[in-house]
């Protein structure tokens, strides 16, 4: 593909966009995994949100 005398500017633009978007996506995925891991750790230690606790003998979820 011949992009003419300014090909370097065109490829550089697309490379920067691809790099920044890849970085953003990687950050979002890694951040999500980190938060899920921290939440699982807390839950494993018995620390749960009220709505996430198992219902008691009387069926009370609180």
């Amino acid at each position: 593909m011949d992009l003419g005398p300014h090909a370097a500017f065109i490829w550089a633009s697309y490379a920067v966009v691809a790099f920044v978007l890849a970085l953003l996506i990687a950050w979002l995925v890694a951040d999500g995994k980190q938060q899920e891991h921290r939440l699982e750790e807390l839950e494993a230690r018995g620390i749960r949100r009220r709505s996430a606790r198992a219902p008691g003998p009387g069926g009370d979820a609180a």
């Binding site: 593909m1 992009l3 003419g4 005398p5 300014h6 090909a7 500017f9 065109i10 550089a12 633009s13 697309y14 920067v16 966009v17 920044v20 978007l21 953003l24 996506i25 979002l28 995925v29 951040d31 999500g32 938060q35 899920e36 921290r38 939440l39 807390l42 620390i47 749960r48 949100r49 709505s51």
Partner: protein, 254 residues
């Protein structure tokens, strides 16, 4: 009857709904961008004046549009927090700021790389470029302010919402800067009175790329909101645990 925003006010319901939507919108973004890139490099002809460099427009213009849309999301979310106290408004505003900043940076960089071969300069202090640079600094200001008040998230949310609403005045300045002042930047070519001034062979790839970028933005925004909700759950559980431990310790001392 509840409105959609009222139904989504429940973070648990939002997490469930967004979990189901996210793969679809991500897939849609990937497909649209792939088709847009095909049109960009294999279908769209070179411009009669700008030659092949017009291909930078297919990423520069969507990035610039999303830079402004990101700020609109910040502003609307800030309004939702300050006026309606919507539980997810602050989550949305916080999630949109870094995404908007990234797209603004992309608009600035790709514009600069387009400007050098066309104008002979990477940067000129004209109204459009300068107002977009101010938008970038506004995004950084929102992120920095929230980060500085990290110990008090409620206060951080309110103050950044005020800054977010005040900063919205930059959007019409960006939009109309090319009409109000003599700028090196070209005037609006797509969203203008009388219809687009671009031939359909270039307009269609541009609109497809813009749609792909928009789907990607919404996918990333949803993911960032989900992450923020999880972060807040972790924080509240950790604080509850610390308080419980402190109470137990106080009882032991007694």
């Amino acid at each position: 009857m509840q409105t959609l925003t009222q139904r989504l006010a429940n973070p648990t319901r939002f997490m469930e709904l967004s979990r189901r939507i996210l793969p679809w919108i991500s897939g849609l973004a990937a497909l649209t961008l792939a088709y847009g890139l095909y049109l960009t490099f294999f279908v769209a002809p070179p411009d009669y004046q700008q030659g092949e460099t017009v291909r930078i427009m297919f990423i520069h213009v969507p990035a610039a549009w999303l830079a402004m849309m990101g700020y609109m999301i910040v502003a609307i979310s800030s309004f939702g927090l300050l006026v309606f106290r919507h539980p997810l408004a602050d989550v949305s505003a916080k999630a949109a700021a870094p995404l908007g900043a990234a797209f603004t940076l992309l608009a600035l960089i790709t514009g600069s790389l387009w400007g050098k071969p066309m104008w002979g300069a990477y940067w000129v202090w004209d109204a459009r470029l300068t107002s977009v640079l101010i938008l970038f600094f506004l995004y950084l200001g929102l992120i920095a302010l929230r980060s500085a008040l990290d110990e008090d998230p409620a206060l951080a949310g309110k103050l950044t919402a005020v800054l977010g609403l005040v900063g919205v005045v930059v959007l019409p300045v960006i939009r109309f800067s090319v009409d109000w002042w003599n700028t090196l930047h070209q005037p609006a070519s797509v969203l203008k009175v009388g219809g687009p001034a671009i031939h359909s062979s270039i307009l269609i790839p541009l609109l497809v790329m813009a749609a792909g970028f928009t789907f990607l933005f919404f996918a990333m925004h949803l993911k960032a909101m989900r992450n923020e909700i999880l972060r807040r759950r972790v924080r509240s559980l950790t604080m509850a645990e610390v308080e419980r431990a402190a109470r137990l310790e106080a009882r032991t001392v007694e």
